[in-house]
């Protein structure tokens, strides 16, 4: 196995080992490295311990061409990343005049003197260049020697992510060239992960493009990564084959999100949507409310967890009495009421008990999704019991998928699986 494009991540911080902070950086970087043509070999999480960190750094550099560290760039004596890199490389730390000036400027901006121990955030070693950090006081380090590279980034994801995107990615491209990388994510739904994996099985053996499969809340995502001079051609050809195999199960690609797809269609036609929720309790509304540009098409929502409130919002009491609150009939009536009360073209509803409580003696997790439009109403039974804590979110996303289907059926939109 070549180590030319192999990487390791070292997540640094005693707070990680104590479970006080969850390390999300390793997962983020793991998903990003393949886009630079780099294979992640190992992740190690270690505390703020000079001896241990030096040992792990040394081992990682023995094995891999690239080592990415996260954390340990703060101003305190527990922040040891710079010291350990210097020790392992046998280089001396010095205060960089420009970094110091910038750092003192940051403190001046907030009207305070720089604490003396913060000076270590202006340290460099001869092999290191600073990586600007617009969201914090700790610059990163880009360290090059021989055939080895060390990238050191601060721990807070809100600092790390933009630094990765804006500073590190392009440097990796120069440092690990010949790896022109193209990626495509294909988003599917209504097909189980095992089934998708089976359908696309032959493609897993391919190294270029490589295929990854991810189970997400909004369905199964497939990610193709191609490299080399004919990357574009390779990507397009495999993409076309996957479209052939998966057909209408594909609902989006790359950055598409379900509410964006639906919202785009509705906005284009000047149509509007309103919601009434029981089971998802407001989560469905929040998906639309937080979508950019949603004020064009999302009228508003009603949260109605009791029979009384459903009735107050316009669901006929008789219907609740006859069929129970968790029923196809009531889900449809909720959708109708949302549509009428909030003067929208589409009413979308979720009913059903997603939690443990279960008044009607119905199976836990049983829910109904309802849609009403100018042609009538419809509902679907779904059971989200197995998703436990995620059941409400799953129900909200289930409702989005049903609305998407309905919009396609009404020819308000075409499925986007062909580009």
């Amino acid at each position: 196995m070549s180590i030319q494009n192999q990487a390791e991540i070292i997540s640094i911080g005693t707070e990680l080992l104590r479970g006080e902070v969850t390390d999300t950086n390793a997962g983020y970087l793991a998903s990003q490295l393949p886009l630079s043509g780099i294979e992640l070999r190992k992740v190690t999480m270690v505390g703020d311990n000079h001896e241990q960190l030096c040992e792990i750094l040394r081992q990682a550099l023995d094995r891999s061409a690239l080592v990415v560290t996260t954390g340990g760039l703060g101003p305190t004596e527990d922040d040891l990343t710079r010291e350990c890199i210097a020790t392992v490389l046998g280089e001396s730390l010095y205060v960089d005049a420009e970094l110091e000036k910038h750092l003192r400027g940051l403190f001046k901006q907030i009207g305070t003197e720089m604490p003396s121990h913060n000076i270590k955030q202006a340290w460099l070693i001869p092999s290191a260049k600073a990586l600007p950090n617009p969201r914090g006081t700790a610059p990163g380090w880009w360290v090059e020697m021989d055939k080895k590279t060390v990238v050191s980034l601060p721990g807070p994801p809100r600092e790390l992510i933009p630094m990765w995107q804006n500073e590190v990615k392009s440097r990796l491209q120069s440092r690990f060239p010949g790896k022109a990388i193209l990626a495509r994510t294909i988003k599917t739904y209504a097909v189980q992960e095992a089934k998708v994996a089976e359908l696309v099985h032959p493609f897993f053996d391919s190294a270029n493009p490589s295929l990854g499969i991810y189970a997400k809340l909004d369905g199964i995502h497939l990610r193709l990564i191609a490299h080399g001079d004919n990357a574009e051609q390779l990507l397009q050809s495999t993409e076309a084959q996957l479209e052939e195999i998966l057909g209408p199960s594909i609902w989006g690609k790359d950055d598409d999100c379900l509410e964006g797809v639906i919202g785009g269609w509705l906005s284009e036609k000047g149509m509007t949507l309103a919601t009434m929720e029981d089971g998802s309790g407001g989560l469905l509304g929040s998906i639309f409310a937080n979508a950019p540009g949603s004020s064009k098409y999302y009228r508003g929502g009603l949260i109605a967890c009791s029979d009384e409130m459903k009735a107050a919002f316009g669901v006929p009491e008789q219907l609740i009495k006859e069929h129970g609150a968790i029923s196809a009939e009531v889900a449809e009536a909720m959708a109708i009421a949302a549509r009428e009360r909030l003067s929208a073209d589409f009413g979308l509803s979720t009913s059903g008990i997603v939690g443990a409580h279960n008044p009607d003696g119905r199976p836990p997790g049983l829910t109904y999704i309802g849609i009403a439009d100018n042609l009538g109403q419809r509902s679907w039974e779904q059971n989200y019991a197995r998703f436990q804590d995620e059941a409400g979110q799953r129900e909200a996303i289930g409702a989005l998928f049903r609305l998407r289907e309905r919009l396609i059926e009404l020819k308000i939109a075409k499925p986007p699986h062909k580009r």
Copy 2:
């Protein structure tokens, strides 16, 4: 440093290194190990690679008394955890008759023949005992030799967490005795993490009880862990000192959640709550809707992201025109309208733009929280811009804290910081 109570975690799976699945198990176990008096030394994430996994296992067992592995217990040839443990310990794998019987029974239950490769899920080695897994086909392993212990658990958190709680914790107690452990979490709010850390600084030097500090969405949590014969006394004494220092900033302990605390008070007095949301767009409602027993006190909610919908829900149009939709006046009117329209004792509202769009030229992230009750209405300005993707959630939780304060002010409840 004694290795008697030191542990390492090995997270196993190529899907983790590719970023296809995020490892949440290491963080969970990191927070659990201190409760068994065990110090986590290192976490390593490795792919499905026999050689690498054996090497990491060997190193971990050299250094630490306890090694916990997660993942790699599935039925496929990529699932190598059992094989690697057997290799490292120099023991032979055999099919355990009872495990096989149980496993075949599971497949019979779902009406299918057991695939032949699944037999490896019935494997044991002489040093290993099986840990029952009621939620999956892969039993765990509990391996004891000399002074070393290996615990192997399956990767899916929904299988791992109950196995840890029901099987592993009690076995660790017997295996690492003399570590009677008591824990207490103290939940604070309205005080910044740095400030809390400063206030409780002297307690960080103590080893028993030890103190951890966690920044969570619902404030800063402090966790005390005490061990030994006088653990209870030690815990109580430090807890009392922390209560003295932090006073009314403490809003709960241990499993308390904010909506549970608020809901308990309202239920007790037979009082009710209704919401109207703009900025949090339904998230506030979903917190109450999903709380157990909330039907007693949560009437329902309105999601109103446009001026028109706010007006339709009862906010005077004139007020919106005069002050803008993002204003103290409108937030208060939203709370009043929610209270009146949904016939509740309390109306709680969130207004403001949490996303990037910003119609009135006001600073992004600027929000107002409103409360209305039978004595009048009130509002608070908050800025959640720095929380970006989490802004909506933060705003919803901010509203919970404001409601809690109001309930205390009205003497509907007393702060629970003394037990």
